[in-house]
């Protein structure tokens, strides 16, 4: 019995290694973290608006135009990094921008938006993170590109950068806009 105990570290380690290997083998580029939802309809969650004077949205509101859906939290450092860019997107009306406030205190989120500016046309609160699980959120910040049929087209994990926007998102958005009868 005591002897078997000594082999335990090996088996635990072996399990860890297998788990490390799976995502690497499975995906060609682990940083891409392709969403299981790509080309599928967005999850149908009914979430409340973040506050009374903000407009909320559900899956039906996503139909009719290309939209970026951004998961963020006031406690999330990297969210601050991308915030300037989100403000720019909203100011220049590059694309429709909706927000989902993830596992956050309502007041903290409102303060955050008051201080840094509110780039979101509509915004809902996902207090317990239930909707985030349906969306497959890996960690905040995370951004999804939704086409006008309400299907997920692209997903970016981590703070959005100018480069990602120009090189990854904009080409897809352009493509979606050109294929009018898709």
């Amino acid at each position: 019995m005591a002897k078997t105990l000594f082999i335990l570290p090996f088996f635990i380690f072996f399990g860890v290694i297998i788990y490390f290997a799976i995502p690497i083998v499975k995906k060609s580029d682990p940083k891409l973290l392709p969403s299981a939802l790509v080309d599928k309809d967005v999850p149908q969650n009914k979430l409340p608006p973040l506050s009374k004077n903000k407009r909320g949205f559900d899956h039906e509101d996503l139909v009719g135009g290309e939209t970026l859906v951004n998961f963020f939290s006031s406690w999330c450092g990297p969210c601050r990094v991308e915030h300037d860019l989100l403000m720019k997107i909203s100011k220049e009306k590059t694309v429709r921008l909706f927000g989902i406030n993830y596992k956050d205190q309502t007041q903290a989120a409102i303060n955050w938006l008051n201080q840094l500016g509110d780039p979101f046309e509509r915004i809902v609160a996902d207090k317990d993170g239930r909707a985030a699980i349906d969306w497959g959120v890996y960690g905040v910040p995370e951004t999804y590109l939704i086409d006008k049929q309400g299907k997920v087209r692209y997903r970016h994990v981590g703070p959005l950068t100018e480069r990602i926007l120009e090189e990854k998102l904009m080409p897809i958005i352009q493509l979606l806009r050109n294929n009018k009868d898709d």
């Binding site: 570290p9 380690f13 788990y19 995502p23 060609s28 940083k31 999330c76």
Partner: protein, 664 residues
Amino acid sequence: MIAELGHFALILAFVMALVQTTVPLIGAQKSNTVLMEIGKPSAIAQFFTILLAFCALTNAYITSDFSVVNVAENSHSLKPLLYKISGVWGNHEGSMVLWVLILALFGLMVAIYGKNLPPTLRARVLGIQGSIGVAFLAFIIITSNPFLRLDPAPLDGRDLNPLLQDPGLAFHPPMLYLGYVGFSITFSFAIAALIEGNIGPAWARWVRPWALLAWTSLTAGITLGSWWAYYELGWGGWWYWDPVENASFMPWLVGTAFLHSAIVVEKRDALRSWTILLAILAFTLSLMGTFLVRSGVLTSVHAFAVDPERGLFILAILGFFVGGAFILFAIRAPKMALGGFFQPISREGGLVMNNLLLSVATATVFLGTLYPLFLDAATGQKVSVGPPFFNATFIPIMIPLLLLMAIGPMLSWKQGDLASAMSRLWIAAICSGGLGILFWLLNSDKPFTPIIGFAIAGWLGGGALKELADRLLLFKIPFRNSLLRAKGLPKSAYGMTLAHLGIAIFVCGASADSAWRSEVVFNAKEKDQTQIAGFNLKLQKVDRLKGPNYETERAHILVTKDSKTVANLYPERRFYPVQQMLTTEATIYSTVMADLYATIGEGDKRNGWVLRIWYNPLIPWIWLGCLLMVLGGLISLTDRRLRIGAPEKRKGNYKTPKLGTEHG
């Protein structure tokens, strides 16, 4: 030409490492002195060939040789010299070269200073160390050659990520690597001991200085990294539970546990197999630290390489070394007879508790960091774990550990007396209450929770000082005699007191900052004012300036208190045209009691600029606490008892070394 020389040197180093691995190990098995002695020259040759490669790469950076891909992608001719040099390890390939350089450096030190080790043990340690070198040199040569050429060479380089162009970060990776890689030596010692099937007090004494060196460097490295995050990222915080931070924190926790359990092996010859396990774990987590950052498995702010092929390669290395180590452990460790017995309430018992709590803490951080990954692999579900998780799980584990830290050193070996230990700690109780009440009076209008932190810190700090005072018999014998005792006291005793005091001070800083930090954000035009924590801040003006490789908007903020000028702050917002990147350069006005931290955001003359000001109480205590821990580690390193097999040259004749002849 020089780049090719570097490439060639790397391959030569690989061959040297092969020699260093095979010959001494075979020699030790056959008790052949000649073969065993090969370890030393090959370790020296391996180090100098890697050094040559490293210099060749550095030369390419300093001379801005853009015909080398690595330089073209990560440097720029306009970059200041310091960042040209730090650019060498600011990227994947270069940082791997630095990694193996430090690995070989440790091998070199064992080869040179390890004269007092038994020849078979030294040969085996060098052999194992060499084998790690073989694996990582192969990794560099096959997947990450830093000397690849580019034809045609571009006119200028793509520049280093501006966030990394900072003095704090220039020295952060070398320190961190010194710590990570330092645990390779304790690992080699552990494996050598497993092969020999022999571990005891002598082994613990030999391995201790290396563990201390690694731990001290890792502490310094993590501190520098945290300090960098604090003032460079411009978010006002100092620790984010980011996967990369956690990756360096986990080996630190296990390394700390190892340092303490090795004491039990040295003094009481108990906890042998557990100590070996910790040595293996510390290096495993160090390798995972390298692996997590480099494979891109976990995305994070500071990860800079994404390549699944490299990830698999490192995974294979990890599997081979750690898997092999654990199998060896499973075969050999049960045969290591149990050492001395002890009562649960004793110094050993306290150190066992310390180890248990540190291990649980490591497991918590490990789960929090990797759980999202595991769940994804198992079920395809994706979840996220943020700072709330770590605050809710890690801190409750730390509280008993901190309370124990004062009691443990008071207990005697084998069988302690809790009641008498507690009665000696009366002064710690007073410190605890005193510090708690003092800070509560000073901050009665603010949240109460940090007071618990202060009370704990007072207990710990008071306990650490009382323990030292008791050793010196301070106030019990004439002061002059106490001074004499102070002179005779081993340096490691001072090291412990300093490190424990450092933790106490750190806890104060962390507690205060967690709940008492305040922040204002305001949109300011020139001459606008705001108040925070009794300070008045006035935006004087904003200038547009030009730096060597960036453009900048620099604000001048005048800080006054009771209409007296306190400080001038110059936060900047820099734009690096080559990388098209904006960075925030915060400015910090530091006093003993708090930091005033300012950043400037987007804006212009007409609409004003967004200024963010933080008042971060006791932040300097965090750095001071860490500094004391590092100092404690350094002072312990100078302990006379550690000189056997330690990086310390022995004077006089070399014939004497026999096991256990030199006690402190």
